[in-house]
């Protein structure tokens, strides 16, 4: 479709405004992370300053290093993601395919768990983990994250599985694949896009989570979101270090997004088969 010059100028203008709104905090943090604490507090804020890598040196290798915390976060997020996907994929497939009684109600329950305010669950979760001795442990954190990520992942994946025509699986059954291989060779490759999207969301949620991490974690498992919080104290706030830590924490997430983007787009184009092929 052809747009007039004015229309596209307006469109670019509006997109520009939103882009600025969204990217400003990130860019500001990026800028701050290269400033010395003195430049940070300069008023009016300076755009031109002598950049320093000192903050990064400190948060990665210095006395205030967040490296162990990054590793903790990575372990918790990775385990959460792997376990979630291992359980959610078969569950979502079953929900999409079987005509179970109460399927609709189950779907609502899954959605409802996403509506619960997490604060309300903190105390029961704390007492529960304390009782079984899993406080401040990787297995405890992972277990708690699963209670949120699993319903969410199932809910997300079901719609991807439902999009795959039953006939395609039936064709595979007749083509002597058997149930398992029909699932692995015919169904699973077609939900790659959905799986990539789900992995990103689950990983991100676990990676960015703060509330449970701060209450249920401790000296053994201190995730990076909690560690960053320590740059804010009663006496002072170390803005530049906080910014550097934030940038370091964001990096893997952005990398994951870029990596998975290819798969997401691929998944979408696979779905674009015209004619009877995929309807």
């Amino acid at each position: 479709m052809r747009r007039s010059g004015i229309a596209s100028a307006v469109l670019i203008g509006v997109a520009g405004v939103f882009l600025t709104l969204w990217t400003f905090p990130v860019l500001w943090a990026l800028l701050t992370s290269f400033k010395s604490e003195r430049d940070v507090l300069a008023y009016p804020p300076t755009l031109f300053f002598t950049p320093t890598l000192g903050n990064y040196r400190d948060v990665l290798f210095g006395a205030t290093t967040i490296l162990p915390n990054l590793i903790s976060s990575f372990i918790v997020a990775t385990f959460t993601t792997i376990l979630t996907m291992l359980l959610a994929i078969p569950a979502a497939y079953a929900l999409a395919r079987l005509n179970l009684p109460g399927k609709r109600a189950g779907g609502f329950y899954i959605l409802a768990t996403q509506m619960l305010p997490p604060v309300g669950l903190i105390i029961p979760y704390f007492l529960f983990l304390q009782k079984i001795g899993w406080l401040d442990s990787y297995k405890g954190m992972t277990l708690i994250y699963l209670t949120f990520s699993l319903p969410f992942a199932i809910w997300l994946l079901v719609s991807y599985f439902e999009d795959i025509p039953r006939e395609m699986e039936e064709a595979a059954l007749i083509d002597r694949a058997g149930r398992m291989r029909a699932f692995l060779y015919v169904v699973l490759p077609q939900v790659r896009g959905g799986i990539a999207v789900t992995v990103i969301f689950v990983f991100l949620n676990a990676w960015n989570e703060f509330l449970f991490a701060v209450v249920l974690g401790g000296n053994n498992v201190r995730q990076v979101t909690v560690a960053m919080f320590n740059f804010i104290s009663v006496e002072q706030t170390l803005w530049a270090k906080l910014a550097a830590a934030a940038i370091v924490t964001m990096a893997p997430v952005i990398l994951l997004g870029l990596f998975a983007q290819r798969h997401i787009v691929k998944g979408l184009t696979v779905g674009a088969v015209k004619g009877g092929g995929r309807r």
């Binding site: 025509p165 006939e167 395609m168 039936e170 064709a171 595979a172 059954l173 007749i174 083509d175 002597r176 694949a177 058997g178 291989r181 060779y185 015919v186 490759p189 077609q190 696979v270 779905g271 674009a272 088969v273 015209k274 004619g275 009877g276 092929g277 995929r278 309807r279």
Partner: protein, 351 residues
């Protein structure tokens, strides 16, 4: 030898309280091109799916070459199927689609290569092997699905309305090719369709389904000439048979106040349904008077709607007709072409 003889014995299919199939008995001979014909919801696709093993029969048994396969997994039945939607695997290219059934049984790569090329050649898609299904036209997708079915040389082909997604011209071409392909392979083929013309032209024999029952089995010609019920008569043939309430007595059928001779002979007087195919309706100088309501020109023939009292009778006649719409004509029919059906059961009366 594995020759593909199919028998269904008293097959019943229930979905909860609803009965989709009321005890189907069917015997299909080796190498036959057999059509399951019927309106939608009549149970023909369910029957095909039970033969394929995709649905379980609630009662009854399915036999393939004398072996009971009622509880055999679809993959162990040695059948191949072409779905109405083709059900091609969208993430695999044409080659991988056709190779899939052989990859699943661990055939060596070199054998797969040869078989795929051979099957692709038979349906003329050997130049498309690298394409994904999404890059194929509807006709090419259909051929790809066919190739995937023939590549394994199964005992039985199951085709579920394979032509219904093609446009009219392509459907005619493919219909002929399908018939030739089936002849050359000699594999028993069960073909589901709701299109009576398709079944008539393509099948060696056919079973007509109505409301979950088989009403008639026979060659297309036999079914056309001797429809077992008024409903079959109404379903087969285009346009369908004219059916009129009538009274029979002594070889004469009385329709309202008009009379027609029939070669049927039954005792006494009784209410019947008289049936005359449009192509058997003769327009001429004598017979029953009727008014021409509408004339449709088919090029080589005319479809003439005749109004007789409050009934509409269709005639298919040669292109030479001097009468115009609104004028009166007379029609008659050969006694042998006047079919009779019971008013109550709607079953054919042979006499």
């Amino acid at each position: 030898m594995n020759n593909g003889r199919v028998s269904l014995k008293k097959v019943v299919k229930r979905h909860g309280a609803f009965t989709a199939l009321h005890g189907i008995d069917l015997d299909i001979e080796p190498g036959e091109f057999f059509a399951l014909l019927g309106p939608s919801g009549s149970g023909k696709t369910t029957t095909l799916r039970i033969v394929a093993g995709l649905e379980e029969a609630s009662e009854g048994s399915v036999f393939l070459d004398g072996t009971d396969i009622t509880n055999t997994e679809p993959g162990d039945r040695d059948v191949a199927m072409v779905f109405q939607s083709y059900a091609l695997y969208p993430h695999m290219n044409v080659y991988q689609n056709i190779a899939f059934p052989m990859r699943m049984v661990g055939m060596p790569k070199s054998d797969i290569d040869m078989a795929v090329l051979d099957a692709a050649k038979k349906v003329h898609i050997e130049h498309l092997l690298d394409r994904k299904p999404g890059q194929l036209s509807g006709g090419q997708q259909q051929r790809c699905a066919l190739a995937r079915a023939i590549v394994r040389q199964p005992r039985l082909f199951l085709l579920d309305e394979p032509l219904s997604n093609l446009d009219a011209k392509l459907r005619l071409e493919t219909r002929g090719e399908l018939k030739k392909l089936q002849r050359s392979l000699g594999v028993t083929t069960i073909y589901v369709t709701h299109d009576q013309e398709e079944a008539m032209t393509i099948a060696d024999r056919m079973a007509v389904f109505m409301d979950g029952q088989i009403v008639q089995v026979g060659s297309p010609k036999f079914v056309f000439d001797n429809p077992a019920t008024a409903d079959v008569a109404n379903f087969i043939g285009s346009p369908p048979m004219n059916l009129m309430p009538a009274v029979y007595r002594d070889g004469v059928v009385r329709i309202g106040t008009h009379e027609l001779q029939t070669s049927c002979r039954i005792a006494g007087e009784r209410n019947v349904i008289a049936g005359i195919r449009p192509s058997s309706v003769r327009l001429g100088p004598s017979g029953i008077p009727a008014r021409i309501d509408l004339i449709e020109n088919l090029g080589d023939a005319l479809l003439v709607d005749l109004k007789l009292d409050d009934m509409m009778i269709r005639a298919r006649t040669g292109a030479e007709l001097t009468s115009r719409e609104g004028e009166s004509v007379f029609f008659s029919a050969e006694p042998a072409h006047v079919h009779l059906f019971d008013t109550e059961s709607r079953v054919r009366i042979n006499g």
